[in-house]
Symmetry: C2
Subunit: 125 residues, 2 copies
């Protein structure tokens, strides 16, 4: 197995139907996810034992974390310690974000896996 892989060759996974899709690079102890949020997609408030850090790559989101709400564009980051409630609303053009988790999100193993397809970011790839 190669350990140097282009995003477009990673099959996406449906996380919340078609509105929220992720590609994963899976390590032993952490998951790097590249997540595509459709325009106006909503990730409802949830929490998980996995610690989660992340950043907007393109587009914009409104993030609510443990009682704090902020509008974030490219370069906007979040830091979600274990079991902290969080909720995300994508802006009108959608968003691509990275989310990293420790330990790995092996609960995603049961999510619907799609065929490889062109990612929403980078454009023109």
């Amino acid at each position: 197995m190669t350990n140097l892989v282009d995003l477009e060759s990673i099959p996406p996974i449906d996380l919340f139907g078609e509105a929220v899709r992720a590609r994963r690079v899976q390590g032993d102890n952490l998951t790097l996810a590249i997540v595509e949020l459709a325009p106006d997609a909503i990730v409802p408030e949830h929490r998980h034992p996995n610690e989660q850090l992340g950043m907007v790559i393109s587009g914009d989101v409104t993030f609510t974390l443990d009682g704090e709400t902020r509008h974030l564009g490219p370069g906007g980051t979040w830091r979600i310690l274990s079991m902290k409630p969080h909720e995300v609303h994508a802006g009108p053009t959608g968003a691509v974000v990275i989310d990293v988790f420790a330990p790995v999100r092996d609960d995603w193993d049961s999510k619907p896996r799609l065929e490889p397809r062109a990612p929403a970011w980078p454009t023109g790839s």
Copy 2:
């Protein structure tokens, strides 16, 4: 302390002099680093116990990992298990990449910390 922070307000750290600089979002169990590589910057072969996953955001790099070499542009990813040797050469216009680590890179605590400044990516922020 806020947990929703824009990249530009995070002070960069010199990792290998001015040629390789990083901003960190630090969790309890993982580090999200946004790393700026100057044009033609070289990160010499090294290894560390921390597992490392990452992706190119802008620009391009030539990555060598455990005997495999690939040229990677935006969306190119790597998966470096604990103690695997790796080396990176930035392209002629430099690169911005994300690197995520578990456990946290607390060995960076002793690196020179700079004043907040505009990041190389996103441009125009």
